[in-house]
């Protein structure tokens, strides 16, 4: 059987997309690709029908178990505390752990079960990973977060995977693209310093030329995101009206973090009036020589405090976004001294001592982050803040997949009822399936986050495809005197017309609504474009074959 280039293009697109979607090792990927491409080869070169059937079933029999059993075993590291020994030794996000102390790890459950117990006398953890073996002489739980290895390279949007999103607008300022780029870099630096690595920050503009900053983070609470990106983070340390230093690496050269000798919670106390608790934290920072000079110059003129001569008359006031956070006494011996070491303190509160402790720790971490990363060049206002539950997202994902399968079956049955030809029905099924695989393949390659409207777009895109196929089928099975070629040409006119109307109708969505609906436009446009370039020509070919016989 001679196979035209149209079928070859379809098979190449299918093989390529399948490999892109599946998260399997490269050798298996290669094998999957080759096996899919062997299908058109078999159809072209085998002579008899029996060999064809035998070879094709053999391909399927080999392909299915490969796809099922080739998924990588182990757990993948999703975050490593950057101050831990694990980070220092080279463990990084993305590395796959396959065994602990010789025990094979297939999933997170195995990982938890095989972690050494703190009670065990043996103080050694040996990790077998994708980047070689690591040995740590400890029996403490590693300072890393792991998760199961995803089976596909597909990424889902916040509404399906859980997380938080903020849309920010600069207050009273129109920003150039450069300013926006600066904002993007400071914001992402701040989130990274805080310990969040899975951040998607983008500048989006709309049809009226407004510019927004869109921040999406998986697995963060709304409150944390609000404080981390909603604050300008303009930190100032003042004595009277004179500024000693501000946040950012120009003035602050070092901030002590995760080191109990120079950072931590000092005391926790119960507040006698309210009954709540509050905890005080402190950490040290190093100032640049210029900032230290400034400190000397300003303190020189101060007198000793009259009630307590240990301290100077004025305090060091710490302001965050123009709000006083804390006031620190300045030791008498620091008067006029060029000091580079400064202690910063603050407090957190809560209903119980534990809550106060956690709140204080959280405040400290945020203040440290701001001191390190400096303030944002512009004040931002949160204009939209969303968070979605990962549990609900999982439920929604499951339901959408089930719905997709049901729709697929209903449409296939309708096609069969209408045309009563198994070959035509199979052709439609193959086309619908190919379109889904190609859209998902493209989404995997460019790491597109598929959200619920995006998946609605995929289903709609495939729906457009089915409509086109119906037009092709009706024209091909028509009993008119005109040639098949002419009729298919007319079908193509209708199809191309329909393609362009949907294409232009969806286009404006890329610029409206801060890009929140671009997923819907994107998947639809990818779907119909893949349809018109790849699957429609192939389906026409299939119909020609079926009608020719």
């Amino acid at each position: 059987m001679k196979i035209s280039w149209r079928i070859w293009v379809l098979m190449f697109a299918l093989a390529f997309s399948a490999v892109a979607i599946l998260n399997i090792s490269s050798s298996y990927s290669f094998l999957v690709g080759v096996l899919i491409l062997s299908i058109p080869f078999t159809l072209t070169f085998s002579k008899s029908k029996t060999t064809k059937i035998i070879l094709l079933s053999l391909t399927v029999v080999v392909l299915v178990p490969i796809v099922f059993f080739s998924f990588q075993k182990g757990v993948v590291i999703t975050s490593v505390n950057s101050d831990s020994v694990y980070f220092a030794e080279g463990l990084r996000k993305g590395i796959v752990i396959t065994a602990i102390n010789g025990n094979n790890i297939d999933n997170v459950e195995d990982y938890i079960n095989h972690l050494p117990q703190t009670s065990e006398s043996q103080k050694k953890i040996e990790l077998q990973t994708s980047q070689g073996n690591f040995i740590f002489l400890t029996n403490k739980t590693p300072d890393i977060v792991v998760s199961n290895i995803p089976k596909t390279n597909l990424k889902t949007g916040l509404d399906l995977s859980g997380g938080a999103r903020a849309i920010l607008k600069p207050v009273n300022a129109t920003l150039s693209q450069n300013d926006i780029d600066d904002l993007v870099s400071v914001t992402s630096n701040r989130l990274n310093t805080f310990g969040i690595s899975d951040v998607d920050i983008r500048s989006v503009s709309d049809l009226e030329g407004n510019k927004f900053l869109r921040v999406e983070v998986a697995g963060i609470t709304q409150e944390d995101l609000k404080e981390l990106v909603g604050q300008q983070g303009k930190f100032e340390a003042k004595i009277g009206n004179d500024t000693v230093f501000v946040s950012g690496e120009k003035d602050v050269t070092f901030v002590c973090r995760n080191d109990a000798t120079c950072a931590g919670i000092e005391t926790c106390q119960q507040d006698s009036s309210s009954g709540g608790y509050f905890c005080k934290f402190r950490f040290s920072i190093s100032l640049s020589p210029e900032a230290a000079e400034r400190h000397a110059r300003i303190t020189q003129n101060l007198t000793l405090d009259q009630t307590n001569s240990q301290y100077l008359s004025k305090k060091l006031d710490l302001y965050l976004d123009d709000t006083l956070v804390d006031s620190l006494f300045i030791g008498a011996d620091l008067r006029g001294a060029v000091t580079t070491q400064i202690q910063i303190s603050g407090s957190g509160a809560g209903a119980t001592e534990n809550e106060a402790y956690d709140d204080s720790l959280d405040s400290m971490k945020k203040l440290q982050t701001i001191l390190i990363t400096g303030s944002l060049p512009y004040k931002l206002e949160i204009v939209k803040l969303d968070s979605s539950s990962p549990i609900l997202g999982k439920e929604f994902t499951k339901n959408i997949i089930t719905l997709g399968i049901i729709v697929f079956l209903i449409v296939s049955i309708l096609i069969f009822i209408r045309y009563k030809r198994i070959k035509i029905t199979l052709g439609v099924i193959l086309t619908m399936f190919s379109e889904a695989v190609i859209i998902l393949g493209i989404a995997s390659i460019i790491s597109w986050n598929l959200d619920a409207p995006g998946i609605a777009g995929i289903i709609a895109g495939i729906g457009v495809g089915v409509n086109d196929q119906i037009v092709i089928i009706e024209e091909s099975v028509s009993r008119e005197a005109t040639t098949l070629k002419q009729r298919i040409k007319r079908a193509l006119f209708i199809i191309i017309g329909a393609f362009f109307t949907i294409f232009v109708a969806m286009l404006p969505l890329f610029w409206a609504g801060a890009g929140l609906l671009e997923g819907f436009a994107f998947t639809t446009i990818i779907g119909i474009t893949a349809g018109i370039l790849i699957t429609r020509p192939a389906f026409t070919e299939i119909m020609r074959k079926i009608q020719g016989e």
């Binding site: 963060i220 968070s387 619920a452 109307t501 801060a514 609906l517």
Partner: protein, 313 residues
């Protein structure tokens, strides 16, 4: 055997007769058929303008387009009696509304949605106080939109809708290059938006940003049957105009039926779906329904009229 053959012959004759009758009736009455969509359309437009005079808007905007907070409770909250929560919140906020999303297969409540124009922090605090349980990012989803931004979104999406409609019209004119048939398609597309919109307003359903996006898709999606009809009627040489329209109808109605079959299960079989997804499918379903009227009564009648005038046989 003989009898059977007779029967078959009889039925065949019957169908031919019916077809003739259909053709006959259609020739005589097609202009009257045009009245049906025109009346529906006038009714819809009148209702929309009445609605606008009452509310100042053509749609009922949800929180994403008007500003405010949507909090979706899930998980163990749903085991509790939420009546008290409803009462507490109603007492505190005048504009609060509640919705339940139920999974049709199991009958279990999946989410409980609370909407208000209030600020997220306030609403959250009130809910926590009423239930006596903390809202975490696991057991709840929150959506807050600033009213200025939502207004901006709405304006943007309406501009997008207009641009989308204009671009679609340009494509249609380019495809057919004749005035009346193109205008017929464009009018059908316009009706595909207006009729569902009037129904949605009448039913009091709120439209979200995703819903307006669905209208954009509808503009492109619904015209494929019109393109099919116009192409078959004008470009095909075989048969009479009636036969060609009837042929296009058989193809087109099946296209719309399959499309409806693809979107309707989201309301009868699997209902536990995100709001954005449901809204898109809901508007597509209404639009496809309206499209049956607008393609096969409006557009078909205009095309037939046009063919008669132009002497196309």
């Amino acid at each position: 055997m003989e009898e059977n053959k007779e029967n078959i012959k009889e039925t065949k004759e019957k169908t031919i007769e019916q077809k003739k009758k259909f053709s006959f009736n259609y020739d005589k009455h097609y202009k009257k058929l045009l009245l049906i969509p025109v009346i529906i359309m006038l009714f819809s437009l009148a209702y929309l303008f009445y609605f606008h005079s009452q509310t100042g808007e053509f749609i009922i905007k949800d929180i994403s387009l008007s500003g405010g907070t949507t909090i979706t409770l899930t998980g163990d909250f749903l085991d509790q009696d939420l009546q008290k929560l409803e009462q507490d919140l109603k007492a505190e906020y005048g504009d609060v509304s509640f919705r339940r999303l139920t999974e049709s297969t199991s009958g279990k409540t999946l989410t409980f949605v609370i909407e208000s124009h209030a600020n997220a922090d306030e609403l959250k605090a009130s809910i926590e106080e009423s239930i006596g349980q903390e809202l975490t990012h696991e057991n709840s989803s929150t959506e807050f939109s600033d009213s200025a931004l939502s207004g901006n979104f709405y304006r943007q999406l309406i501009i997008a809708l207009i641009i989308s409609f204009i671009l679609m019209s340009v494509v249609i004119f380019f495809l057919f290059r004749s005035f009346v048939p193109s205008l017929a398609v464009i009018f059908a597309a316009f009706s595909d938006i207006v009729m569902p919109l009037a129904l949605i307003d009448y039913l009091g359903i709120k439209i979200s940003a995703a819903g307006i996006a669905a209208f954009l898709m509808l503009i492109g999606y619904s015209v494929d049957t019109d393109i099919l009809l116009t192409t078959r009627a004008l470009k095909k040489q075989e048969g009479t105009v009636n036969q060609r329209i009837y042929g296009a109808f058989k193809t087109g109605i099946f296209m719309t039926i399959t499309a409806l079959a693809a979107v309707l299960p989201a309301f009868f079989i699997i209902t536990g779906l995100p709001d954005s997804f449901r809204q898109i499918f809901f508007i597509l379903a209404l639009g496809l329904g309206a499209d049956i009227i607008n393609t096969w009564l409006t557009n078909a009648s205009i095309i037939k009229w046009y063919c008669e005038k132009k002497g196309i046989r």
